[in-house]
Structures are given as structure tokens and as C-alpha cells.
């Protein structure tokens, strides 16, 4: 498979190619890593994760096989997502509280199936409630931060989060996907 000229330069360890890619995709990588890590890590560490994404791209350049320059974007996005999620896992190392358990799934579900189930269940919530859950559980923001961002009282945010959590559990239980809340 013929590779694009930019990818070929990267494979040859041409630093100017990496610089070009950083200029082009730095904002994209920053948006992904910042979205995932903003409530978990200080800014300087998020910059560290951004750097790591491009380090990895450089290290694994030999394995790239893109015919067009544009095809590298989703690849970089996947590296950024994985790097940020791995970093988050290091931080959230303690066991979740019982209240934070979404449910118990059978082991027969593959990751792909589980992803689809969760996405379908999430879509049954309003966009506002989806965003609230994501800000709290995915981005690690505190209720106080969310309250300030949404300009809603703390008690309202807490109530919406609780109801959304319960609804999500109910949808999954009703669908027979979880057997224990």
C-alpha cells in the first residue's frame, strides 16, 4: 500500500514531518485530552499527555500505512483518547462506591456490544442529562463546578444526576442486560 508523502517522511524519522503534524493536529489532540482529563489533572499534566500522544506517533511511525494525509487524523484521535483514558485510570484507582455501580453485566457481552447497549441507553436520556452525567463521571467535575457552569443550584444538579443514574440503571435492567443493580 502506498503511503502519503507526509507519512513516508514520518516513517523516515523526518522531524519536520512531526512538526507539521503537531501544527495541524495539536488543537484536535488538546480538545480530546482536555475533555477527558480536565477534572482529573492539572493543566501542566494535560500538556504532558498531549506531548505523549505525539511521542507515541513518532515511535510507532513505522507501522503507519495511510494513503492520504487525512487518514492519520482518526489514528491520532485514537492515540489521544487512549492516552487520556489510561492516565485517568491511574488516578481513579480506588474501588467505586456501591452507588456508583451501574449494574452487573453477563460476561458474554463483548466490548462492542456493551458499548452499543450503553449508547442506546444513554440516548433515552435528554441531552442535558447526558451532558450532566458525562461532566460528573467522565470528566470528573464536582457537583459544585457543574452547578456553576450550568448556573443551576447544587441541589438541582444533584437531583438530576440521581434521577439520570436511576433511569440509566432502569433502562438496562428493563432490557434484561443487567441482572443486579
Amino acid at each position: 500500500m502506498a503511503c502519503s508523502e507526509l507519512v513516508m517522511r514520518l516513517k523516515r524519522k523526518d522531524q519536520s514531518a512531526l512538526e507539521e503534524l503537531i501544527r495541524k493536529y495539536n488543537a484536535y489532540v488538546a480538545a480530546i485530552t482536555y475533555t477527558i482529563l480536565q477534572g482529573h489533572l492539572p493543566e501542566i499534566d494535560i500538556q504532558g499527555v498531549i506531548n505523549q500522544v505525539f511521542f507515541r506517533l513518532w515511535e510507532h511511525a513505522e507501522n503507519l500505512h495511510m494513503e492520504k494525509d487525512e487518514e492519520i487524523k482518526p489514528y491520532i484521535g485514537a492515540i489521544a483518547r487512549n492516552a487520556a483514558l489510561n492516565e485517568k485510570k491511574k488516578i481513579i484507582s480506588s474501588m467505586p462506591l456501591e452507588e456508583e455501580i451501574l449494574g452487573e453485566f453477563t460476561d458474554s457481552f463483548s466490548q462492542v456490544e456493551l458499548r452499543k447497549l450503553l449508547l442506546d441507553a444513554l440516548k433515552e436520556l435528554s441531552t442535558e442529562n447526558q451532558v450532566l452525567l458525562l461532566k460528573f463521571y467522565f470528566q470528573g467535575k464536582t457537583i459544585r463546578q457543574i452547578s456553576e457552569e450550568e448556573q443551576q443550584p447544587i441541589s438541582t444538579i444533584k437531583t438530576k444526576l440521581r434521577r439520570s443514574r436511576e433511569k440509566l440503571r432502569f433502562i438496562l435492567e428493563k432490557g434484561g442486560y443487567t441482572y443486579e443493580a
Binding site: A30, V49, F55, E100, E104, R115
Partner: protein
Amino acid sequence: MKLSMYEAFDLVAEEAVELLAEYDRTAEAVQEYSAETTIRAVLGDGKSFPEHNSSISDGEFSDLSRLGMGKKTVKKRSRKMTWKVRLLAAAIIVTAFCSASFARFRGNMRRIDGAELVDETNRDLVGKVETGIASVYDADGKLVNGDELYEAYGDPDPDLFNWRISSVIRQVADGVYIPATIDEFPVREADGEYRTPEVIFRNGAMVIFTKEDGSGWDLKKGETLRFEVEEYPSEIGFGKGQNVSFVYIFNGLMMDGEAYENRDELEVSFALTAEKAGEYYVGVMGVSSDPITFREGKIVKAPR
């Protein structure tokens, strides 16, 4: 296979990022991460490719320090929020006092709402046993004695995530008891010591002391933070101290400190020695049946 909410949303990270990009105000924040900064960090000054450090658990790349990006810059930003946090805390305290007065008027009783600074509105409760009028309902649910529970105690908050409101605690270590309420009180710095205010707190309530700007104490490995305080004598203690449990918070993670039960003295002290460098806070929780009141105390940072 149990799946936590955190794991569930990580599974759908791709869609989560897309959705949040639409609704979250990340665009402005992302501008802070310029391509030039990344290029300098990743490629150095274009002279040589820096050695790859795959571990970023401490969040520091050698090249970043060259860019003048220090942790102080980051902290400065978080401290900008302090005035908002204080305003919110003040509003909560005022609201708590108003609702508590209402409860006393209605029920001829007054309960400490978690933890409060000692002042003229609650000084009469210092050292007192917590009593109240029993609310009795008949079999049909009709109130026959005392006040409606709702009026006496206020609307109970069924949410179990109160601790997440704390601006200090981000996680709780496994096995650590989660308090019913968490209140943060700033100390006053004088002559190299930090004076803690008089506080009254009830069972299950946690008090966390912060510096005046809301931050904690930066300790190097081996340094010690010592909290010394004397308790007001209480009716139930018969001159002895009541049960308290200390915790400490290290970089946002709350961990068990030391529990003091069946104390003979009213004085109590707690010292924590940093096993790792970081930001530390001292907290104390009431584990006695009745409210506990601390006089002014002090927090001292001691070198290795």
C-alpha cells in the same frame, strides 16, 4: 462483571468527547495548549529529539520545566475560584442558620447542621447533650406528639454524594468512612502558626481546616503537620474527651488518620508525617453521639 459509572462512560469515550465538544466550553481552554508549546516540548529546540519518557504519572516532562510551566501557575488558577467557594459557603451557612432558627421556633430545639463555627447563635449548645421532642405518629401516620419530622430536621437530602461537594476531597480511599457532611474552615496565620477557629460539629460531620486561601499545606517527604486542640467539656463527657476520628487528605484523596476513643483528657492532637510530597489537609470527624466543640487550636508545620 460489575461496571461502574466511570468505566461505562470510558467505554463510550469517543461519543462522549463529541457530545461534550458541542456543549462544553472547551474551545477557549484548549487555546491555551498551543502547537508551539507542544513542538518545543516534543522536539526540543529542533536540535535533538528528547529521550522519550513513557511515564507521566508525576505529570512532569523534563522539557516542560524548561518552558517555565510550574505547578504554581496551575494552583494560581484554582485559587481564583476561592472567592466563589467562600461566597457559596457563606450562603450555605446563612441558609443553615435561618432554617435552624425556624426549627427552634417550631420545635423548641436546635440542631447543629453538620459543623459550624461557634458564635452567638450556637454558643448555648456548646457542651450540651443533643435532645429533642420525640415525634410520634399513630398507625394511620397522623402526628400525635412533637413536630413533623420534616419541620424539625429540614428536608433530608437523599443523595449519598454530599462529600463530592467538597472542594478539597476528590476521592476517598477504600475502607474510609464517608462522613454525612463536610465543612471546610479556614485557619488564621500568626507567628508561623495556623490558628484554627472554634468549631462545633455533630456525629458524622467532618471538619476540614484549610489555609486562608482555601489551599492545603505543601509538605515534603518526611515533614510533619501537627494539629493540637482542646475540647470544651461536655455534659455527656463528664470532663473527659468525646470520640473523634482524624483523617488527612493527600492531593485530594481522603485517607484514615487516627481514631481517639474513650479519651481521659480534653486535649487532643494529631500529627501526620508526609510519606510523599504533596498538598495535605487535616480533617476531624465527630464519632460521638453528641456534638463536640473544639476551642481555638493550632496547626504547626514541622520540618524533618
